[in-house]
């Protein structure tokens, strides 16, 4: 699934300036626990989280995950945006809950890993 398509599904807004047109999402995980995210080793994945801090972005960088949805419009700080832009990571803000976003993505063919 392309990010453009995903945005419409989750009422999402991209807050970073990285180019996301070529990113094709196949797998998803929802977690607020970064150690959990670090065990997720597949390409083309997306994280859905309620945790909005610098370590969220660092974790994505180490895990090679290029896209994250921050659920329930948590405050994305300028530092997070700056780091995400530097690392070519796309941050999407969504007003929906982690539960709702996960359900929508699952229904639309995004696969779980475990």
């Amino acid at each position: 699934m392309k990010i453009q398509e995903l945005l419409a599904l989750v009422d999402g807004k991209v807050v970073t300036s990285s180019d996301y047109n070529s990113y094709d999402i196949e797998y998803g995980l929802a977690s607020d626990l970064m150690s959990d995210v670090l065990t997720f080793d597949v390409e083309n994945s997306i994280l859905i989280t309620g945790l909005a801090n610098l370590q969220t972005i660092r974790t994505l960088e180490m895990s090679d995950i290029e896209c994250v949805i921050i659920a329930r419009n948590k405050k994305v700080t300028p530092e997070m945006i700056e780091l995400a832009n530097e690392k070519q990571i796309t941050i999407i803000d969504s007003p929906y809950t982690i539960f709702r976003i996960s359900g929508i993505l699952y229904e639309n063919g995004i696969k779980p890993l475990y």
Binding site: L33, M34, S35
Partner: protein
């Protein structure tokens, strides 16, 4: 052989991950495979966060040769009471602040172990902890 050194400050969550990020850049430049790079930086990042979360300060020394990447993390801190217990998934002594950052669920050392070809830990109570993480470059896992 190449050697790189980084300093880590305990409690400095803003900069936690800087060393791991630098190492990732270096490995990419050296054309290390994405799979091995990922294993190295995930292990290193968990270990770097451990220093920030538990120690007062620490040094990270990364040595790269044609066969392997050897990372040493030496910290000054409270040390680990029981390494066996610390290696158990779910065991954690992390503070509320660490948990708020998305860590502290007792997965750090098990994650490091899973991503390392060799892991050696020594620790002295009241002094600090030393980790050695070795990853072989010619061994795809």
């Amino acid at each position: 052989m190449m050697q790189f050194e980084y300093k880590v400050e305990g409690g400095d969550f803003t900069n936690a991950g800087n060393a791991s990020s630098e190492v990732k850049k270096i490995l990419k430049k050296l054309n290390v495979s994405p799979k091995i790079t990922r294993r190295v930086v995930v292990a290193l990042y968990e270990a770097e966060v451990n220093i920030v979360a538990h120690a007062y300060r620490g040094d990270i020394i990364v040595e790269i040769d044609t066969e392997k990447i050897r990372i040493q993390l030496n910290d000054e801190g409270p040390g680990i009471d029981s390494i066996e217990q610390a290696m158990t998934e779910g065991f954690s002594t992390a503070s509320e602040q660490v948990r708020e950052m998305g860590f502290g669920a007792g997965m750090g050392l098990p994650n490091i172990n899973r991503n390392a070809d060799e892991l050696n830990i020594t620790s002295e109570i009241g002094k600090g902890t030393n980790l050695e993480i070795i990853t072989y470059l010619n061994k795809e896992n």
